[in-house]
Symmetry: C2
Subunit: 384 residues, 2 copies
Amino acid sequence: MENFEYLNPTRIVFGKGTIARVAGLVPKDRPVLMTYGGGSIKRNGVYEQTRAALQGFDVREFGGIEPNPRYETLMQAVELGRRENVGFLLSVGGGSVLDGTKFIAAAMRFPGSEPWDILAKRAKVEDAVPLGGILTLPATGSESNGNAVVSRESTREKLAFYSEKVYPRFAILDPETTFTLPPRQTANGVVDAFIHVMEQYMTYPVNAPLQDRQAEGILLTLVEEGPKIMAQPDDYATRANIMWTATQALNGLISCGVPQDWATHGIGHELTALYGLDHAQTLAVVFPALLQHQRARKAGKILQYAARVWGITEGGEEQRIDAAIAKTEAFFRSLGVKTRLSEYGIAEGYDEVAKRIGARGSALGEHGDIGPAEINAILALCAA
Amino acid sequence: MENFEYLNPTRIVFGKGTIARVAGLVPKDRPVLMTYGGGSIKRNGVYEQTRAALQGFDVREFGGIEPNPRYETLMQAVELGRRENVGFLLSVGGGSVLDGTKFIAAAMRFPGSEPWDILAKRAKVEDAVPLGGILTLPATGSESNGNAVVSRESTREKLAFYSEKVYPRFAILDPETTFTLPPRQTANGVVDAFIHVMEQYMTYPVNAPLQDRQAEGILLTLVEEGPKIMAQPDDYATRANIMWTATQALNGLISCGVPQDWATHGIGHELTALYGLDHAQTLAVVFPALLQHQRARKAGKILQYAARVWGITEGGEEQRIDAAIAKTEAFFRSLGVKTRLSEYGIAEGYDEVAKRIGARGSALGEHGDIGPAEINAILALCAA
């Protein structure tokens, strides 16, 4: 096991009927800025529940945060927050609203003139407005971590930052808020959580048996619960299991003391920025191809994954690796998420992905050596 | 899954050579009280490393905190801390020192005249001196939770309290500090962590597949790593795995949304208070007997445990339950921890245990119905 540091100060309030608890968690002394997305919370009752809970609070609103939240949009909220002396940000929505709210929180107190530097130049976040979340879409884990991804319309960039300062103070997870999610978002959430685990698990063995089992536990749960939730979207127990599992997939726990990959996300972000694919769609496309491309170096972990998650124990090593990759892709497809670039109408020109990553001078993967040539080879594997 | 709330704000700093990090984690503005136990930290270099790291800090010391820390001793530290205007408590040692330090932290700011009320009358802890820990014995999980158990010499009581206010701000876990532990303490730590999981797992199914797998992951790791650490006490990788696993066993995570038992601890505390057995020894005695006594009501989980932890899948249900109980007891014995009251020289009179628990008016277990009669039956099962 490698040395590590772990901190996760988010208070989780989980279960049926918990939105009302927000009143005891948000400070009342200054205006609260409630952030949300395209308005689904107004259709499923979450908006009303939240406003009802916050009676007596000085609440301002900022709606319209997009999936893949845009810098241009978020900067309007930063201006509003500063102008209105907002002391707390309350994100009501999924991972995009949370990510956007984290950026607003950091940007509101960013001393420089260009908060984009937090993303593009990795400028350190020294301070942030405190924030909390009411989660309506289990997927990103953003409700209980310090990560955020923001896109910039003008340059078609999609970049990430991390700061301890933007961990939500609390996250309210009421599985009932997810009953009305469209199937595409439900499926995307399962895929997203699955790949989050893979980025932290599917590398090489470092004698960390507990972390491995914690990761495999999440994968197994998603494999079991994923099909159930697609078949019966209003089953509370299954929704609850998916919701808690997605949080555990990216709250920092399973990456303790182990190497991490994140190449799938690195490539995926460019596919979203260039072609507008859903985040999870890009992951479902890239990951099986990445596994194929890295099968020799990841062999130890792929074989363990094959045995423990899919029960694949028969046959030679190459056969078992083939079977594990096939099972993984088939799982995504069984949820209705396509796994080939061609299925999204992307036939050529995707070498732009490698160029952009190369231009930033970064190489990806747990060995830090997935460069433009490897990225092109991976994309060729999932082209058709 | 049941509704739940989860918070764990402790910063974990894990790995080789991390004790020096304490300097960046302890506030420098007021005197720091360093608490420790019987002096083993002076023999294994931890004391010197800590003092060296804290050069320039105003450090006071309070040594001599016992295993099963005593109220009478801790109140001396409370007096010292108040007198010296201590602003931070640094626990250097195992779970007993940590538990004792948590009590000191709460008692120093307790407004009433009798801090024992925190334990005996469950008086609410409204405030506590902040504390941190350098852990030298993986076992109790106290380094990353809000629990503490304190004994009172004069009344032979052993009682627990919980408060969010006494979570350590940080916990430094350097596995090298555990190389020199006596085998008995190493084995006790493995048993303690194992039973901590069982108290949160071995109840009845509530459709919480992730929590089950997280718990089973800890059990499997202890089953695999336990014998290794007894055979090779200075193997860093194994010590690291044991240390992280013990923390995960009682940091609140695996109890999220599931019922909890704690009858084994309830009975065990009395055995320690009355007969002076090590905490883990009491658990190794009581738990197999409790499983036996509760085999019908716990059947669902025992069968799952049998299959997933011990690979027991052949035979009828009763046979598999028998085999799982036998494996559990054999595991404790393989570590050198005895499992029968007679082996500790306790032949009779142990009905005092049930009387004391009964006198407090509490019934134990996940159904809250393990009363004096059941306790006597359980103790009879592990008598000889």
